[in-house]
Amino acid sequence: MSTEAHAAEGATGYIIHHLTSLSVGEGFWRLNLDTLFFSVVLGGVFIWFFKRAAEKATSGVPGLVQNFAELLIEFVDGQVKDTFHGRSQLIAPLALTVFCWVFLFNFMDLFPVDILPSIAGMMGVEYLRVVPSTDLNATFAMSISVFCLIIFYSIKVKGPIGFAKELMFQPFGPWMLPFNLLLKLVEEIAKPISLALRLFGNLYAGELIFILIALLPWYIQPLLSFPWAIFHILIITLQAFIFMVLTIVYLSMAHEDH
């Protein structure tokens, strides 16, 4: 996927232009400024909203903001309680953050594809990708963080030896040690990769379809982009939910001895 090659014109050029990040630096040390900018801003929105609710939280009659925040909290807490049976200060807030942040990432997808890049173009910014979750860096950042937590909790709960034993002796017993190790490693590594790629793939494809629809004549566009946007409301929520639930599931698996 060499979106850097943006010399092409016409439809291909348009698509490539939309999928190119605003970035600085070279090689690995390239920074996708748009991803960083939007994710920080959306994180700020999330924090601002919940902080407001948290500051005004009362046990009496809740206001609108608090009510909504509590709805989400109860929803996330219910999910955590269903799956995770240990005690953890981290896991529920983590799940809430994951859900809201991913949802806000995905929500950027519902803005018409040309609006924000055009505004940025007027201000002299050439490239802008507004949906952070169509950037592998954003999805992998979360899934690798979760992966680190999985490893951390596995070692913390089971002990280094216990964890090593689980890697080597399961599921087929000590006589199949190399095979077990291979299987386990694949299983563990598949977690962050599938987590990141699932979200990325869904949103990237969704965004691509929005871009393709935007290439059609104007009188056909609403006919297609309206149902797709409606469908996308489901997709973005579902993807955020899946990311959250899988995070909870992986972490609860890390907490459990087999």
Binding site: T35, G43, F46, A57, E70, P93, T97, N137
Partner: protein, 157 residues
């Protein structure tokens, strides 16, 4: 479109967000939820208690009403009895008073009869004397014939 240092920036942002949520957002909201849950539970319990108390109070009210009815019936019976007694008493008193009045009237009548009789006797004595004087044509000495006069007078009385 490849993995680059953005990843690290995103991871730091993510870690910060999670930390912030854990520290400042989750606990107050969750606590208020728990507190409200408790309040609601307490309220429901109180409502149930209230219901029970109402049932108890109703039972008590029924007993009290029953007692009051019995008591009032008793009072009415007593009052009727008392009223009968009063009526009887006043009848009795009236009868006594009537008898007394009759007796005193009788006594008065007797007295008057006595007086009238006395008067008549005197008059008759005088008349008899006058008649005797006429018949005998002679004077009758009152002092000589006192005995006879007294006898006559006594016979008249």
């Amino acid at each position: 479109m490849s993995i680059n240092a953005t990843l690290i920036g995103q991871m730091i942002t993510f870690a910060l967000l999670v930390w912030f949520t854990m520290k400042y957002i989750w606990p107050p909201l969750f606590d208020s939820l728990e507190e409200r849950k408790k309040k609601i539970a307490d309220g429901l319990a109180a409502a149930e208690r209230g219901q029970e108390q109402i049932i108890l109070a109703e039972k008590k009210a029924i007993t009290v009403l029953k007692e009051a009815k019995e008591r009032s019936a008793e009072i009415v019976t007593l009052a009727q009895k008392r009223a009968n007694e009063i009526v009887e008493e006043s009848k009795h008193n009236a009868k006594l008073e009537g008898d007394r009045l009759i007796l005193s009237a009788k006594a008065q009548v007797d007295q008057e009869i006595q007086q009238a009789r006395e008067g008549l006797r005197q008059e008759i004595t005088t008349l008899a004397l006058a008649a005797a004087q006429q018949i005998l044509g002679a004077e009758i000495d009152k002092s000589k014939h006192q005995d006879i006069l007294n006898k006559v007078s006594n016979q008249l009385g």
